[in-house]
């Protein structure tokens, strides 16, 4: 395996090794023209540093907030994003697609 910027799990392990609180967000379902395929991942630490992506950048802010909360309370979360979401103006997908993102603490 070549070391690339896409090695999200490697980054998660490395951050964990540095003693940081770490969470992973994973795209588990998509509908319509979602920007990133199922399985795409974002790694987040307790301070909100992130690597990778679960969208074209439109929902990462909200996902990072939930990830930081998951690091604190240890509870996994399933997040839904889409144009019909009530938070549409904050985190709606401009492309009109919908995605489901699973967020969980590592370790």
């Amino acid at each position: 395996m070549t070391a690339t910027s896409e090695d999200i799990l490697g980054t998660a392990a490395a951050w964990k090794g540095q003693g940081r609180g770490v969470a992973l967000a994973t795209v588990t379902l998509t509908w319509g023209s979602s920007p990133r395929p199922v399985g795409s991942q974002l790694v987040v630490d307790q301070d909100g540093h992130m690597m990778g992506s679960v969208s074209g950048g439109c929902i990462e802010g909200a996902v990072v907030r939930e990830a930081v909360a998951a690091i604190k309370d240890g509870k996994p979360r399933l997040l839904d994003f889409g144009v019909t979401d009530e938070q549409a103006w904050d985190v709606g997908l401009a492309c009109g697609g919908k995605v489901q993102v699973f967020v969980e603490r590592v370790g």
Partner: protein, 241 residues
């Protein structure tokens, strides 16, 4: 996600072994399903195991309803490989771009001055004769091969192995005239017309590339295009928004 699970997935990826991570959405319970073995209680339900094996075969991740609840099947299949013959200037541009795109990259060049490690940081450089290295690396249906040396005694033996393999892309640097001469030489060693026709030559998409980096982009673009057309699942991005 347990740290042990994460490390097990990483170990599988490093040894180019396919694995499916089964995860129950409700509580985050996990299991790992490999081609021949299973690790984790969650995958003991026959329908969960069957769904995981299907994901392992297709390389596609998905969320499915099972007798054990709603589970996410995260398929980690080995990355596409790119074998570059010739540690030349174009390779110096092509290799990092291909790595960034998600390819496992191997560079082959028996010439010490070219194969020097400092020219290709973080990449496997094999300092062997191309035919021997290629026989050992065994190009498969997830492998692309491109020859860049311009030297028949290095390019031709590598092409011979590549054309007899399942490699989904075979490209070779050289002008039309060079390519015609190559055809004559390879025909003499028993490569058929149909086999030779698999070579992308002149190599790369015609974007008017001139510099080594531009030529590298045209080659990588052609490899991506060929891969997408072949319908393989690995790392194929969804349609852009």
């Amino acid at each position: 996600m347990k740290l042990e699970t994460l490390k097990a997935v990483q170990a599988a990826r490093e040894s180019r072994r396919a694995v499916v991570l089964v995860k129950r959405i409700a509580d985050g319970a996990e299991a790992l399903v490999y081609g021949e073995s299973v690790d984790g209680e969650l995958a003991s339900a026959p329908d969960v195991l069957a769904a995981a094996r299907a994901a392992l075969a297709s390389g596609r991740s998905d969320t499915v309803e099972t007798s054990a609840g709603k589970v996410f099947l995260h398929a980690f299949v080995p990355a596409r490989r790119l074998i570059v013959v010739g540690a030349v200037h174009i390779a110096q541009a092509l290799v990092p771009m291909a790595a960034m795109t998600g390819f496992d990259v191997v560079v082959i060049d028996p010439r010490r001055a070219f194969a020097a490690d400092h020219r290709f940081p973080n990449v496997t450089v094999v300092q062997e004769w191309p035919d021997e290295a290629m026989e050992r690396l065994k190009p498969d249906a997830t492998t692309a091969v491109v020859t860049l040396t311009h030297d028949p005694k290095l390019d031709d033996p590598a092409l011979e192995v590549a054309l007899k393999s399942d490699a989904y892309y075979v490209g070779s640097l050289g002008s039309r005239r060079t390519h015609e001469k190559r055809k004559a030489r390879l025909t003499e060693v028993g490569i058929s017309e149909a086999q030779f026709a698999r070579i992308h030559g002149p190599v790369g998409l015609n974007i008017g590339a001139k510099s080594p980096a531009e030529i590298a982009i045209s080659i990588l673009a052609e490899i991506i295009q060929t891969h997408a057309a072949s319908g393989q699942p690995a790392e194929r991005p969804a349609k852009a928004a």
